[in-house]
Amino acid sequence: MPRLQRVLIANRGEIAVRILRTLRETGRTSIAIFSEPDRTALHVLMADEAYPVGPGPSHESYLNMERVLETAKRVRADAIHPGYGFFAENEAFARACAQAGIVFIGPSPETIAALGDKLAARKAALAAGVPVVPGSPGPVDSREDVKRFAKEMGYPLMLKAAAGGGGKGMRVVRSDAELATAWDLTRGEARAAFGDERVFVERFIERPRHVEAQILGDATGRVAFLGERECSVQRRHQKLLEETPCPAFDDATRRAFGEAAGRVAKQVGYRSAGTVEFILDEQRRFYFLEVNTRLQVEHPVTEMVTGLDLVAEQLRVAEGDELSFGDAPPEPRGWSMEARIIAEDPARNFLPSVGVIERVRFPQGPGVRNDSGIYRGYEVPVFYDSLLSKLVVWGGDREQARRRLARALDEFVLEGPHHNLAFQAWLALHPEFAAGNLSTQFLEEHWRPDALKPGPEATNAALLAAALHERSERQRVQIGRREDARGASAWKWMNRQRGGR
């Protein structure tokens, strides 16, 4: 296979910037695409070349398959990197690339299709001898069937709408008595929300951890396991902070976990970078969930401890090369954490925020990496997701990584939209987080918005700042109308206040 010299990035924001950095470092031409409001986005400014693909809404630009492929052909792209989201797990797009003679950087369309169907993926895992959450092999037909299941597995159970997703259509059942009403409610909701009343049963895992395996496969059929990532701290099923290694793992768990992930990947002939997701119960037993057939948002923590460039490995594999490390993946060194810096307001139930980045100063220094799509003066558009930047740190051990994260968050200056820096700092300093006691219930159990209340020192500083501001405002007023008497000046103040400054 010839070298992929011209690579189009079918994405935007921080991940487009991330990918173009590797393209530049490996001597390839980086080709950006952009929607109209993204004309001034960082990935456009930093790319070697950039071409427009349509208006703001994703389906008219970044998800406009025809336009993106036409652009790729016109500018003679050798390959397309899809990043994550958009076309990253789209079988049809991968197929269309192949038909257009353009290399899709990712697994084969067949792999994407096979793993995109959650039931098929679960079957592949079972076939590979990898544990899945115990449950009914298919939809259950009656309350009595659920009761029989409960006798076998014990309560609590989870009723899950077969067509569900995004955290909807799920209900925990803790006894036969609860089941009486839960059965009808769940089926009713499933019918209402998805037009499909089929319901599955699964064992309910209490306080689960979300742990995932980074895998990398090449064309020779070799699959490498590059360590796990713990992604338990979530809100509304969105990951907020990820780390590697998993604080709950010992060497034996890790070995078994890596072997399980590798077996799933080999079962489907996996090629390129992918992630096998598991949940971990409180007894450290892991259960297969699904495979993400793409580069993951949180891939940098794996890069920090292995020293690998996963995008560079994807490019090698796409060119038909072997993995850079052959059969010997580098031993992970130290600990890494990633905090997602998101435009949202923790004090108002994490309401998304937009606006102009008025001031930004990224944290720097030892062990700090920023993967970001913003710059000072940039206006965060309303059309795309609210991830502004990823703050990634490395430490010799978990404690150094965690303290470094807290240091870096403290150093991070970001003004304009609301953001979750203070929330992430709260998290990094929380004693349960420090102890590694994580689960997907972490926020429900520990987070209260008044945790961000400023202390007396901050309150004093705020008081002084407000006084300084009023002083300079007042000077401005007085300089402007030096002839005014006191009363008139006060009226001016009133007007300003009423004007909703």
């Binding site: 937009v354 309303v382 901050a458 008081l463 009023e470």
Partner: protein, 174 residues
């Protein structure tokens, strides 16, 4: 110079003056001094309070000022004494004027949950706005009656745009 400051729910009279690069402030019987300098970077000050270093940014907001400080944002309401007097006089009137639900950010109206004439209760969601791939329910703060619906479903709205107006319920909690 005197100000009325509301901070963290507490209101206090504040007296302050500057002497060169020093700011001297009295509030609630406390005396605070700081060395200050304005940084070449917008409305940003460096304060040294007994040697402790703070960088604070002041920006105007709908309710008054916001002071940004190490990743946190602290809202501060500052009133001039005369302003305070006048506002106190008009306070009673303002409370009876009803409520407006506005878009907190630019986005698209996904669902309208009320129509003109509907009675709503404090905390009830009346409209859903989608922005950045997230749906956000907007609710009312007080009981009331819907008097105007100013947008249609699928309409794009800008930050601060009024969406729904309500009149207070007679005898209800305002």
């Amino acid at each position: 110079m005197k100000l009325w400051v509301t901070l963290e729910g507490r209101e206090a009279e504040v007296t302050f003056r500057t002497e060169g690069d020093r700011l001297i402030l009295e509030a609630d019987g406390r005396h605070i001094e700081a060395d200050f300098v304005r940084l070449p970077d917008g409305e940003v000050y460096s304060l040294l309070i007994d040697g402790r270093s703070h960088v604070v940014r002041v920006s105007p907001s709908a309710e008054g000022l916001e002071v940004g400080l190490r990743g946190s944002v602290i809202p501060v309401e500052v009133k001039h004494p005369l302003e305070k007097m006048l506002q106190a006089a008009s306070g009673a009137r303002a409370a009876a004027c009803g409520e407006t639900v506005s878009a907190p950010m630019p986005g698209v109206v996904v669902a309208l949950r009320v129509a003109v004439g509907n009675h709503v209760q404090a905390g009830q969601a009346v409209v859903v706005v989608e922005a950045m791939k997230m749906q956000n329910e907007l609710s009312v703060a007080h009981d009331g009656v819907v008097t105007e619906v100013l947008v249609a479903e699928r309409a794009a709205v800008s930050a601060g745009q009024a969406l729904i107006r309500l009149a207070p319920v007679t005898g209800g909690s305002a």
